[in-house]
């Protein structure tokens, strides 16, 4: 049985990883077609020369960084507050945001924004995208940080208070350092869900706030495009580097 499981696992891991590997290999293929011709960097040059791709990548990075910083800070505070004493309302709405299908989140946010725009001279743009991204990544941050707090010993904080620390001082100098790794993990999660989101973003983005997933999606819908293999490889490689880096940071 053990041997059978190991053989099965090889196939399962191949299923999970080989598709992206093939995509990466063929991004270096000189031919447009799915038959190997020779090694070439022409599709990477095509990506570098595509102003649309570069601009949307910059947009995506700005949105993801801002949304991650905001969601991580206020999500961590909320997790701490919820750990002190639960709030049915807040937990309920965070849970709701986790289980709401993306398409519903996006459509309902669009409906809200359009309704607000009736009274204010505003338009869809980076601000609406960032607001949406903070909204949907908050619940992830709270879940991750709260999980870490569950294994935290509250007497540590009580000790700090007994030794004369203020309530905030105890949080800042005792609890927060303990939460460090969980906060880093939460930020990573918020960043990856933000940089990858297409469904919600496409509904609340304006003409000047096209993100990389939106451009990739439009390219994919049009079908064959070797430059897309190169973009995909770059994104997967970039995210991979980020994961390795954050693992390193967490260990030191």
């Amino acid at each position: 049985m053990k041997r059978g499981l190991a053989v099965y696992a090889v196939f399962a891991y191949a299923f999970l990883h080989v598709p992206l590997l093939i995509l990466a290999i063929f991004s270096f293929n000189s031919s447009k077609f799915a038959v190997w011709e020779s090694f070439s960097l022409q599709w990477y040059r095509a990506v570098a020369a595509d102003a649309n791709l570069i601009e949307s990548s910059v947009n995506s990075l700005i949105i993801a960084v801002v949304a991650t910083v905001v969601a991580t800070i206020i999500g961590t505070l909320a997790a701490y507050g919820l750990w002190k004493r639960g709030s049915q309302w807040l937990s309920g709405s965070l849970y709701l945001s986790l289980v709401t299908p993306e398409i519903v989140t996006g459509a309902s946010l669009l409906a809200l924004f359009q309704w607000i725009f009736r009274f204010a001279h505003l338009r869809l743009g980076m601000h609406t995208v960032i607001l949406a991204h903070v909204g949907f990544s908050l619940a992830y941050v709270v879940v991750v940080v709260l999980a870490r707090l569950r294994s935290y010993d509250p007497t540590l904080e009580e000790a700090a208070l007994d030794l004369g620390a203020t309530e905030f001082g105890a949080f800042w100098r005792v609890t927060l350092p303990y939460l460090g790794p969980a906060i880093a993990a939460a930020a990573m999660l918020a960043f990856t869900v933000s940089i990858d989101d297409y469904v919600i973003t496409s509904l609340v983005a304006g003409v000047d706030s096209q993100t990389l997933p939106m451009v990739i999606y439009a390219m994919a819908r049009r079908g064959v495009n070797p430059a897309l293999n190169a973009v995909s490889t770059l994104v997967v490689f970039g995210l991979g580097m980020l994961i390795i880096l954050s693992e390193r940071l967490r260990k030191t």
Binding site: Y8, I22, Y95, V99, A132, D196, V199, I243
Partner: protein, 274 residues
């Protein structure tokens, strides 16, 4: 205690803006009439909900359920042995586990696109089979329900493996030994001891896979083509091309209601996430 209120306030405000207010708007819109130029108008009506019973949409709901159910079942069947393998792999557990989590960190959109690259008519599978002279005409692998199910299984398998692993990991090996000592064959032990004890993990995994699959938009749009219209695509269409916001709102509420009912149906005490 005042500190706690201050800590909760920013998140509470943001959830009110990005979650509760949009939901309230959707509820109101679902009861209004479609405007002449998109938008919404009075009078109040429940027509958007009665339209949900139209067989045209009924078929779409049934198809979405069917595809999500098949994808979930496949994730369970494929994920269980993998979770078992990881749980029994001793010191290498973390490595094997991170190999399952890794795709979860890389882009879902790009992983879906990878399957377009593999499955399309001039894709690698068809090209290879043609080069080997096994087939003459390309097989229609992309733009059908099978491709959508494949994409969903590929995308959501980690969501099934992780909770299964978590329960298998905590399983007391003494129970399995006891079953063996009492004469159970490995298969009997699996079906009558391991599986029932894994019920919480199976429930959690099934929900984590089924709910997003039911509302899928991206996978069905890219891998299913125009033929595969599921609830998610229908909702998207109402808010964009069709510009029928009230009906889109009613559909959204129906989709959420289904998800909520399922979540409450399988929830047990002590399994809360938040």
């Amino acid at each position: 205690m005042r500190l706690r209120i201050g800590f909760l306030a920013p998140t509470a405000i943001l959830m009110a803006i990005t979650m509760l207010a949009p939901l309230a708007i959707i509820v109101v819109y679902s009861l209004l009439t479609r405007g002449a130029y998109g938008g919404v108008e009075l009078p109040w009506t429940i027509e958007n909900f009665t339209r949900l019973w139209d067989p045209v949409y009924g078929i779409i709901f049934v198809r979405s359920f069917w595809i999500a159910a098949v994808a979930t079942a496949l994730c369970l069947v494929l994920g269980f042995p993998l979770a078992m393998f990881i749980a029994r792999s001793g010191s290498r557990k973390n490595l094997y586990l991170s190999l399952v989590i890794l795709p979860f960190w890389t882009s879902f959109l790009i992983r879906t696109y990878a399957w377009m690259f593999l499955l399309r008519d001039t894709g690698i599978i068809n090209s290879a089979l043609q080069a080997l002279r096994i087939i003459r005409e390309p097989l229609p692998l992309l733009y059908n329900d099978g491709a959508v199910i494949l994409g969903l299984v590929y995308g959501f398998l980690p969501f099934m493996v992780l909770p299964l692993y978590a329960t298998l990991e905590r399983l007391d090996p003494a129970l399995l030994e006891a079953a063996a000592d009492l004469g159970a064959r490995p298969w009997d032990t699996l079906v009558r001891v391991t599986l029932p004890l894994c019920a919480p993990g199976i429930r959690a995994g099934a929900i984590l896979v089924f709910v997003p699959c039911l509302g899928t938009y991206l996978t069905s749009d890219l891998l299913g083509g125009s033929k595969t219209v599921l609830i998610g695509n229908l909702v998207q269409n109402q808010f964009t091309a069709s510009r029928d916001w009230p009906f889109g709102a009613a559909l959204s509420l129906a989709l959420m209601a289904i998800a909520m009912v399922l979540l409450f149906a399988v929830r047990r005490r002590g399994e809360e996430l938040l």
